[in-house]
């Protein structure tokens, strides 16, 4: 994460450096007798301009027009028509919206918890400097790098619902199954969750690994001297030390969870019997497949608001806790 931020910060600066205005700014700083803080007021804006322009055109304007579209019946050729909150009503009252919202929360919660637990376990196993560990860590990280379309196709093969299916033959060894996995309304949600955890855990592992290096070694030793066993050391030293890492992971995973689309779309498309329908697949069906962009926009705005509320709540909780 910190690497990402560093890169983003570096980009606009690098972009603006060779530009002409940059040189002008240089002339200004060269002038003698100028106080340190009172440069031209627009100098910072100039440095920010390239990034702001990009954000403006590729983020803010599209977001603003999505907001407008959510109150319109979008028909570009005849001219858009204002319809008030009708689009929102269409989404909220649509068949199965409530189930979809519930499924999204269940899936997001399950995937977030599962990925973080598995990620922590993997991180604890693979902590250290050894060279071989580096290789194993890369191997464990592979699921994140593989395109989701490939992941979905692989899992579909593994989930084959007959006895000769890959996972079913494993289940058969311990006397279970065969399970329908994604083809059975009772197990489809858990199957998608498992795929999501498999894919998400290594990502969490990487961030937790980075966080682990910041945990003071002295604390482990102190705990050991006090007679804490391995599990107690993990629970009372490692986990509290990683609190900030967990809260960031939680926000990221929750946002990812709410927006979950690709794996559901590719594995089940909300079926069978609507058992895996999530908000995004529903919005996709209502807005894009039916070519009603206004409805799609309304759904996107709703999802944005939900994400915003969640993020703000988590931030407030964190702040209160740190006080």
């Amino acid at each position: 994460m910190s690497l990402d931020q560093a890169e983003q910060a570096a980009l606009p600066a690098a972009g603006s450096a060779p530009r002409k205005p940059g040189r002008k700014g240089g002339a200004v700083t060269g002038r003698p007798g100028r106080s340190r803080r009172s440069g031209r007021w627009w100098t910072p804006w100039l440095f920010l301009a390239p990034a702001l322009l990009l954000f403006l055109y590729f983020k803010f304007i599209p977001m603003a027009s999505a907001l407008t579209m959510s109150f319109q019946e979008v028909q570009p050729y005849l001219g858009n028509k204002w319809v008030g909150t009708e689009n929102y009503a269409t989404v909220l009252q649509s068949h199965g919206f409530r189930e979809a919202a519930w499924h999204t929360v269940v899936l997001a919660a399950g995937q977030t918890a599962g990925s973080m637990a598995l990620g922590l376990a993997l991180a604890l196993l693979m902590e250290g400097q050894s060279r071989r560990l580096g290789f194993v860590r890369s191997a464990a990280f592979l699921p994140v790098v593989v395109p989701i379309a490939v992941v979905a196709e692989l899992w579909r093969i593994m989930y084959h619902p007959t006895e000769d299916g890959m996972l079913n033959s494993l289940l058969g060894l311990v006397g279970l199954g065969p399970s329908g996995f994604i083809n059975d309304p009772d197990t489809s949600m858990a199957s998608i969750m498992l795929t999501g955890i498999w894919r998400g855990a290594p990502y969490d592992m990487m961030i937790i690994l980075a966080g682990l290096t910041s945990v003071d070694r002295g604390l482990y030793e102190a705990a050991k001297v006090d007679g804490a066993n391995r599990r107690q050391r993990v629970w009372h030293v490692t986990v509290p030390g990683l609190r900030s890492v967990f809260s960031i992971l939680f926000i990221l995973a929750a946002i990812r969870g709410l927006r979950v689309f690709t794996e559901v779309f590719l594995l089940t498309n909300g079926g069978p019997d609507g058992s895996t329908e999530v908000v995004m697949t529903l919005i996709y069906k209502l807005g894009l497949e039916q070519n009603r962009l206004g409805v799609g926009a309304a759904g996107a705005v709703l999802l944005f608001v939900a994400t915003l509320i969640l993020t703000v709540v988590v931030q407030l909780l964190r702040r209160r806790e740190s006080k």
């Binding site: 007021w41 627009w42 910072p44 804006w45 702001l52 322009l53 403006l56 055109y57 803010f60 304007i61 603003a64 979008v74 028909q75 570009p76 050729y77 005849l78 001219g79 068949h95 579909r156 989930y159 084959h160 619902p161 007959t162 000769d164 994604i182 083809n183 059975d184 309304p185 779309f265 594995l267 089940t268 498309n269 909300g270 079926g271 069978p272 019997d273 609507g274 069906k285 497949e289 039916q290 070519n291 962009l293």
Partner: protein
């Protein structure tokens, strides 16, 4: 700091002004110019055989009439790109796209009405094909240039091994599906085959799309016409319920549909047929070249769908020529539509082993076997002419297909559900959809 904030706001505001597009009056007739090149968009993979076919057709049209055509092939996000052009009020002159897109494009005001008197040879178009281009108010907004219908593919070697005849009715059909499932037709000693290949995912409404072949043959319907361009839901009619029950039994009782069907769209389903895991498949002719290559021409046969409780109706689909609104060369548009449906245009469209635009001809005077000697094409052409039926041209067919696909998918996935109760729910949903589109029968 305060000032800088104002500057930020100023930049934002000016940028917004710059980007907000000027919206002029829509649908105004442009000044006509018969020399203007016609811009043609076709929904097919750029660089693929479909584009080759469109280019060939355009070249023949240019040679025959002297108009100029510029072909653009677009596959991904075709509708979105068309919307972008609509926002600029600069639509292409001609669009060649799926026949089911009529309602959506018409309700957006993108199409201009077609005057059949101005279309040469429009009288030669096959009846149901011509009707497929009519909007719900009965006006012509599209002309079919290519059609396809479903027929039944059977693993010939399996059928002969089990000494079965080609099915003549639904009982034969079910018996064959069952035999293919239980009697080890591939002889490997394992129970790893299923009778019928069926894409029953909800994706793009596949479950509904596939089931329509059975529903209509049983005399059932998704929505039934109730006069004056209005419709009423029909999934709880006796014939519809029976069709659903029969199809469900095929999956739930006989286990004669491939495992995992409820999450499969067409690509994985095609694979089950070519990998020898399923023995029957109801599909259009576009898959023949593929199966000839992967499975072998001698391994399977193409036969008409057996007669159901009512008749042998199968789903008809195809592509239409749409004349877009606001064109500055309407004479050219008419000429192209006329050429595409004419005997010459249809034959040009069919020519070639690959890279053809016309699957089955829509012109009565054109016999498919004049151009294609393979008798399997004749089977398809016959199925289309005798039993082909299009989805109705209501303003937006997608919600109907989605809702029915969800229900068919549910009933096939969960064998414990009550058929009638579930179809009753579906009918309520369909009633809402029809009402929203303003075509519900009161």
């Amino acid at each position: 700091m305060k000032r800088s904030r104002w500057v930020g706001a100023g930049v934002l505001a000016s940028a917004l002004v710059l980007t907000s597009c000027s919206s002029g009056p829509a649908g105004v007739d442009a000044k006509q110019n018969s020399k203007a090149p016609l811009e043609l968009w076709t929904r097919t993979t750029p660089g693929g055989p479909g584009e080759q076919g469109a280019l060939k057709l355009a070249a023949a049209f240019e040679k025959a009439t002297g108009y100029k055509v510029e072909v653009t092939a677009i596959f991904d996000d075709f509708e979105t790109k068309l919307q972008q052009r609509a926002a600029q009020k600069k639509l292409p002159d001609i669009v060649m796209n799926d026949v089911t897109q009529l309602g959506a494009m018409h309700s957006q005001g993108l199409l201009r009405e077609i005057d059949l008197d101005r279309i040469k040879d429009s009288g030669q178009i096959i009846g149901q094909g011509l009707d497929s281009g009519k909007s719900v108010d009965g006006k012509q907004y599209g002309l079919p240039y290519s059609a396809q219908a479903s027929a039944l593919l059977i693993r010939k070697d399996w059928r002969q091994k089990l000494k079965l005849d080609v099915p003549q009715n639904w009982d034969d059909f079910a018996a064959m599906a069952k035999a293919f499932t239980t009697q080890d037709p591939d002889g490997d000693g394992k129970k790893n085959t299923a009778g019928l290949a069926a894409p029953l995912s909800t994706k793009r409404g596949y479950a509904s799309w596939y089931f329509s072949n059975f529903l209509w043959a049983a005399g059932g319907d998704f929505i039934a016409e109730a006069g004056k361009g209005t419709y009423k839901p029909a999934m709880t009619s006796e014939a519809s319920v029976k069709a659903m029950q029969w199809f469900r039994d095929l999956g739930c009782k006989d286990k004669a549909i491939q495992p995992g069907a409820v999450t499969m769209d067409t690509p994985p389903t095609n694979e089950t047929f070519e990998a020898g895991r399923t023995g029957m498949f109801v599909v259009g002719p576009y898959l023949l070249p593929r199966f000839d290559e992967t499975l072998g021409k001698d391994k399977y046969e193409v036969v008409p769908m057996p007669k159901g409780p009512k008749d042998a109706t199968v789903l008809a689909e195809g592509g239409s020529v749409y004349l877009m609104a606001g064109s500055d060369n309407q004479a050219g548009q008419d000429a192209f539509a006329g050429f595409a449906v004419s005997a010459e245009g249809q034959k040009t469209g069919m020519a070639g082993a690959t890279g053809y635009t016309v699957q089955l001809p829509v012109n009565k005077t054109v016999d498919v076997s004049q151009v294609r000697t393979d008798p399997r094409w004749k089977t398809y052409a016959q199925a289309y002419e005798d039993s082909g039926r299009y989805a109705p041209s209501i303003p937006n067919w997608t919600p109907v297909r989605q809702a029915t696909a969800d229900t068919v998918n549910a009933l096939m996935a969960d064998c414990g559900l009550n058929t009638e109760a579930k179809l009753g729910e579906l009918d309520k949903q369909l009633a809402d959809i029809l009402k929203e589109q303003g075509i519900a029968a009161s």
